[in-house]
Symmetry: C2
Subunit: 214 residues, 2 copies
C-alpha cells in the first residue's frame, strides 16, 4: 500500500517500471539490481529505490528485486486487476486507433460500449463492439456498470456532452480533447492526452539542439 502523499510524479513513473519489468519477465530474467534496472530505464539506482520506498520497498539487500515479484507488486499498486468498465465516445480515426491499439484488459479496464454521432459509423463493429448512437449513452450508463469514459472527440463536442456524462454519474475520464473537465467539475478524475503539446515540445527540442535539423 502506498504511504500517504505519494507525489503524482512518482505515480506517473510506475507504469514505466511496470512496462520494463514485464519485458524483463518475458525474457526470463528473474532478478535485477536497482543499478541494472536504472541503466535499463535511463534512471538512477537512487531514484528507483526512492520511488519504490514510497510503497514499502520490495528489494532485498544483496539480492536486488525479484522481477516477477516487483512487477506483480506494482501491478497491485496500480490496481491493474480491478477491471473498471469504460465506454468510448467517438469512433472516428482517433477513437478507432484507441479501441484497436490498447490492451485494456491488461491495464485495469474493460471497454464495454462505443458511441458515435456520425450516422455512417453507427452499427459498424470495432473491437467486436457494435458502435451505438450517442443518444443512447444515458440509457446505457443507467443500465450498466460504467465508471470511465474515453473522450475521442473535439473540444466543442466534449463541451456539449460533458454535463450529460457527469449527470449519468461518470466521474473519471480519459480525455483526448482540449476541454478542461477538471476545471468544470472538482470531483472528477481526468487523465488528459494532449498530442499537440507533445508535438510542440518536440519542435522546441529540435530547435534547441545544434545540428539536429537537416
Amino acid at each position: 500500500m502506498p504511504k500517504e502523499g505519494v507525489s503524482i510524479q512518482v505515480i506517473r513513473r510506475l507504469p514505466r517500471y511496470y512496462r520494463y519489468l514485464s519485458e524483463l519477465e518475458s525474457k526470463g530474467v528473474e532478478k535485477i539490481s536497482s543499478t541494472k534496472l536504472a541503466v535499463l530505464m535511463s534512471s538512477t539506482a537512487s531514484q528507483i529505490r526512492q520511488d519504490l520506498n514510497c510503497f514499502g520497498g520490495f528489494g532485498q539487500q544483496g539480492y536486488g528485486y525479484s522481477v516477477t515479484g516487483l512487477r506483480e507488486e506494482i501491478g497491485k499498486i496500480l490496481g491493474l486487476s480491478e477491471t473498471h468498465h469504460m465506454i468510448l465516445i467517438g469512433a472516428g480515426n482517433l477513437g478507432r486507433a484507441i479501441a484497436t491499439h490498447l490492451n485494456f484488459e491488461q491495464l485495469g479496464f474493460k471497454l464495454t460500449a462505443i458511441f458515435e454521432k456520425d450516422e455512417k459509423l453507427i452499427g459498424t463493429m470495432l473491437r467486436g463492439i457494435k458502435v451505438m448512437r450517442d443518444e443512447e449513452i444515458e440509457n446505457y450508463v443507467k443500465d450498466n456498470d460504467v465508471s470511465t469514459a474515453i473522450l475521442a472527440m473535439p473540444k466543442e463536442a466534449v463541451e456539449k456532452l460533458i454535463d450529460k456524462l457527469y449527470g449519468c454519474g461518470i466521474r473519471s475520464y480519459w480525455n483526448f480533447s482540449h476541454f478542461d473537465i477538471a476545471k468544470k467539475y472538482d470531483d472528477v478524475i481526468v487523465e488528459n492526452v494532449h498530442l499537440s503539446d507533445s508535438l510542440m515540445t518536440l519542435c522546441y527540442r529540435i530547435n534547441q539542439a545544434p545540428g539536429i535539423d537537416t
Copy 2:
C-alpha cells in the same frame, strides 16, 4: 531567448500556455493578469511568473500580459514557425488518427510523406498524401529534406527499422511505440507518447479515489 538550463518541466508547460493564450485570443481577450491566467489554467500566478521569467518575463507591472504578444513570444520560443519536415511511418489506425487529427503546420511541422508495409494500404490517400511502400523510405529521405519521423508502429517494427532511419540521418522522433530509441542512440531527440502509461495512471487514480468507481 531562453536562459540556459531551463528545465524540461518548464518547457513541457509552454505548449499549455500557448493553447490557453490562443483560445483567449480567439475570444478577443487582449490582456490578462498572471492571477487570472493562473485561475484559467488551474496554476498559480507565482508559477506562471516564474516560468515566463525563464525566458525574460514579458509582463508589464500593473498591466499584465498582452494575450497576442505573449502567445507570439511563446510560439517563437517553441519555434512553431520553423516548419520541420516529417514523415509518418505506419498508416494503420494509429497512423491515420495522427495524420488526420493534428494541425502539423501550426505546430512547427509539415507532414510530407507516409510509409506503410501493409500492401492493402499502399497507394491509399491520407491527408492528401499517397501512402508509399516502407522500402522507399531511404530513397525518399535521401532526396528530400526530412528531419523527423513519426513512429506509429509496434515496438518490434521500430526495433527492425530504427537503424535504417538513423542511417538516413533522421535524428528526431515522435515515438508512439515502447521501443526506447534514446537508449540505443545518444544523439537523437525523442518525444515518446505512451498511451498505455496514461491509462495505467488513470487506473491508479480511480482506485485511490474513494467513491469514484460505480
